[in-house]
C-alpha cells in the first residue's frame, strides 16, 4: 500500500548517493564541452590507432636526404623534418605512442596506487603508518632527476620500459587520495555491516569499498591520464627521450628547441604542440565533467 512513491523517492535520494557510472555518463552528456571533447577524443584515438595500424612505421622514420625540411605539400601533408621524414606520419605514430604511454602509466600507477591506498586506508594503524612512510619517501624523491638517471642506465628502453619507470614515480598521488577516501569509507556502516556478516577483509576492500569509490577512481584516472599524455615530451626535450626511430610527440616538440625550427618551420612542432594541447584539454574536460558529476554540489543539473 505504500503507493507509487517508489520513483519519487528514488529521485529524491539519488541526489544523496549518486549511483556511479550512470550519473557520470548523464553528466557527461549534459555537459556540451565535455561531450564534444569525448567525441573528439574517441575520434582521435580511433583514427590514430587505426591509421598507425596500416601505416608502415619503418617507412615513416626512413631518412630521405632529398626531402629535408619540406614545407607542407601534397606529398607531405605536414611537411618533413630535418631528416626528410614525414611529419604527419610521425604525428600519428607519435600520438599513438604518447597515448599508449599515457594509458599504460595511468593504468599501472592507478592499479598500484589504488591497491596501496586501499590497503593503507582500510587497515589503518601500523600498516597504514608504514605504508605512508614509504609513500612519503617516494613523494619527495626528485622524480625527474631519478628518471633521467634511470634512462641513462636502461640501455634499450621501449615504450613499456619507459612507462614502467614513470609508473614507479607516479602512483603516489592516487594512493594518497584513495587512502584518505578509504579511511573515511571504512568507518561507514556498510563496511562494519559486512564485517559483522562475516565477509573477509579482502572481499570488503575490493568488492565493497572499491566500487564505492569507483567514481573517484574514474575521475582521478581520467585527470591523471590528461597529465600523463605529455609525459615523455619533457624528457625528450632534455634529450632523454625516445630514439627518433620511435616517433613521439615529445620528439617532434623538442625540435622546437632549434630556434630556426621554432621560428621558420612551424609544421614540425606546432601540430605536435596542438595535438598535446587538444588531447590534454579534451581528456581534462571529460575528467572535470566527471568530477563535477561526482560532487553533487557542483553538479550542473
Amino acid at each position: 500500500m505504500e503507493m507509487n512513491n517508489m520513483n519519487m523517492s528514488s529521485q529524491q535520494d539519488s541526489a544523496k548517493s549518486p549511483s556511479g557510472l550512470k550519473i557520470l555518463w548523464r553528466e557527461l552528456v549534459r555537459d556540451k564541452l565535455a561531450l564534444v571533447s569525448l567525441i573528439l577524443l574517441i575520434l582521435i584515438i580511433v583514427f590514430v590507432y587505426g591509421v598507425s595500424f596500416i601505416m608502415d612505421e619503418k617507412e615513416i622514420v626512413k631518412v630521405d636526404l632529398f626531402a629535408i625540411h619540406e614545407p607542407p605539400s601534397e606529398e607531405f601533408i605536414l611537411g618533413t623534418d630535418y631528416g626528410g621524414r614525414d611529419v604527419f606520419g610521425q604525428l600519428i605514430i607519435g600520438t599513438r605512442n604518447s597515448l599508449s604511454i599515457g594509458f599504460i602509466v595511468t593504468l599501472l600507477s592507478g592499479m598500484i596506487g589504488i591497491t596501496f591506498g586501499l590497503i593503507a586506508g582500510f587497515f589503518g594503524g601500523h600498516i597504514d603508518n608504514v605504508l605512508m612512510r614509504i609513500l612519503d619517501f617516494f613523494q619527495v624523491l626528485p622524480f625527474i632527476m631519478l628518471v633521467i638517471v634511470f634512462v641513462s642506465i636502461v640501455p634499450n628502453y621501449t615504450i613499456l620500459a619507459f612507462s614502467l619507470i614513470f609508473t614507479a614515480f607516479s602512483w603516489m598521488g592516487i594512493a594518497r587520495l584513495i587512502r584518505s577516501k578509504a579511511l573515511q569509507e571504512k568507518e561507514l556502516d556498510y563496511v562494519q555491516a559486512s564485517r559483522t556478516l562475516g565477509t573477509s577483509n579482502f572481499k570488503i576492500i575490493f568488492r565493497e569499498v572499491m566500487p564505492n569509490i569507483s567514481s573517484l577512481i574514474i575521475v582521478t584516472l581520467t585527470l591523471n591520464l590528461a597529465s600523463n599524455i605529455g609525459l615523455e615530451s619533457g624528457l625528450s626535450f632534455l634529450g632523454f627521450g625516445f630514439p627518433e626511430s620511435t616517433p613521439s610527440l615529445g620528439t617532434l616538440l623538442s625540435y622546437a628547441t632549434n630556434p630556426q625550427t621554432l621560428e621558420h618551420r612551424w609544421w614540425i612542432w606546432v601540430p605536435a604542440a596542438v595535438m598535446i594541447l587538444v588531447l590534454m584539454l579534451a581528456v581534462r574536460n571529460v575528467g572535470e565533467a566527471l568530477r563535477r558529476a561526482t560532487d553533487a554540489r557542483q553538479r550542473r543539473g
Binding site: 505504500e2 512513491n5 517508489m6 523517492s9 528514488s10 535520494d13 539519488s14 544523496k16 548517493s17 549511483s19 556511479g20 603508518n129 561507514l188 556502516d189 556498510y190 562494519q192 555491516a193 559486512s194 564485517r195 559483522t196 556478516l197 562475516g198 565477509t199 565493497e208 566500487p211 564505492n212 569507483s214
Partner: protein, 310 residues
C-alpha cells in the same frame, strides 16, 4: 536462560602521543559493564552521547577489541574472536543507525541481503534468490525489488532492508544501535512497529541501543542507563521510569519532553527540582572522578550504582 551474558566488560581506546606515538593513556569507553539478556526480550541501553553504548554493542559483536571481561553467548565464551565459531557469529547480527550508509550504495538489494548467505551458506543461485525474496517479503518489500539499488528506497525501507540482511541467517540476538534516530518521526514509527512484529515472529532477542528515552520506553522490557562507560542503573521499564533511584536517571527521565502542552509548567517545575537535587547530591552518587560506583541490587531486577556504604 540468558542468551547473552556480559561480565565486567572493559573496552579501552589508547590515546597516543609523543615522538614515537606511544600510548600515554586510555579512553575508558566501556569500563566494567555486566548484564545479561533473557531470550526473546528487548534490552535497552540508554545514555548520553559518548557514554559507551555503541562501543558496548560493537564489542559484543566483535567489531571492537575487548580489553577485559567476558562475553558469553548461550553459555559459550565469545570474548576472543578466535573462540567465536562461525555458528555463533551468525547467531548475532546488528542493525545500524544510519540507513543511508549501512547499505552499500553500489550493490543491488539482492546482493546486499545475500551477503551473509554467501558467507555462511552454500546456496545455488536459485535458492539464494528465493531466500532473498522471502526475506524481502518478510520485511514488507516487494520481491521484485531485488534488482534495485538502495538509493531507490526511502529511509524506512532501507532500514528494513538492513533488518532483512540481519535476519537472513535467522540469528538469535540482534544488536540494534540507534536503529531509528536518523529517521523522521513518521518513519520511525514504521521501523519500530516492524521490529516488534518481527521479534514476535522469529523469537528474536534485541539489544536496543538508543538515547531517546521515549522510544526505549516504548520498545524495551529491561533498561540500563549508562554514563561515562559505566552503568548507573538497571532495571525493568517500570522500575526505571517510575522509580528511578539514581540521581542521574532521575534527571534523564525528567528531561523527556512531554507532548502535552498543558503539562509544561508542571514539567518545568519538576525538572527544576530534579536539577537542584542533582546539583546537591552529585557527590553522593559519583566518585571523585565523576564516575558512577558499581551496581548494588535494590531488588531482584533493579540495580543502582551507589557508593559502598549504601
Amino acid at each position: 536462560m540468558a542468551i547473552l551474558e556480559v561480565e565486567d566488560l572493559k573496552i579501552y581506546f589508547p590515546i597516543k602521543a609523543g615522538i614515537f606515538n606511544r600510548t600515554v593513556d586510555h579512553i575508558k569507553a566501556v569500563d566494567g559493564v555486566s548484564f545479561a539478556i533473557e531470550e526473546g526480550k528487548t534490552y535497552g541501553l540508554v545514555g548520553e552521547s559518548g557514554s559507551g553504548k555503541t562501543t558496548t554493542g560493537r564489542g559484543i559483536i566483535g567489531l571492537e577489541h575487548i580489553t577485559a571481561g567476558s562475553v558469553k553467548f548461550n553459555g559459550k565464551d565469545i570474548t576472543n574472536k578466535k573462540k567465536k565459531t562461525k555458528a555463533i557469529s551468525r547467531d548475532i547480527q546488528m542493525i545500524f543507525q544510519d540507513p543511508y550508509s549501512s547499505l552499500n550504495p553500489r550493490k543491488r538489494v539482492r546482493d546486499i541481503i545475500a551477503e551473509p548467505l554467501r558467507n555462511y551458506e552454500n546456496l545455488t543461485k536459485q535458492e539464494e534468490k528465493k531466500r532473498v525474496q522471502e526475506l524481502l517479503e518478510l520485511v514488507g518489500l516487494s520481491p521484485e525489488s531485488i534488482l534495485k539499488y538502495p538509493h531507490e528506497f526511502s529511509g524506512g525501507q532501507r532500514q528494513r532492508i538492513g533488518i532483512a540482511r540481519a535476519i537472513a541467517l535467522k540469528p538469535k540476538l540482534i544488536i540494534a544501535d540507534e536503529p531509528v534516530s536518523a529517521l523522521d518521526v513518521s518513519v520511525q514509527a514504521q521501523v519500530l512497529n516492524f521490529m516488534q512484529d518481527i521479534q514476535k515472529e522469529l523469537g528474536l532477542t534485541y539489544l536496543f541501543i538508543s538515547h531517546d528515552l521515549g522510544i526505549v520506553k516504548h520498545m524495551c522490557d529491561d533498561i540500563a542507563i549508562m554514563y561515562k562507560g559505566r552503568y548507573v542503573e538497571q532495571g525493568t521499564k517500570e522500575e526505571i521510569f517510575n522509580h528511578p533511584q539514581h540521581i542521574y536517571t532521575k534527571r534523564l527521565v525528567s528531561a523527556i519532553p512531554d507532548i502535552d502542552p498543558s503539562n509544561r509548567e508542571k514539567l518545568f517545575q519538576f525538572r527544576q527540582e530534579v536539577q537542584e537535587e542533582y546539583d546537591e547530591s552529585y557527590n553522593e552518587y559519583f566518585d571523585s572522578e565523576g564516575l558512577a560506583y558499581s551496581l548494588k541490587p535494590i531488588s531482584e531486577t533493579h540495580l543502582v550504582a551507589l557508593p559502598e556504604k549504601g
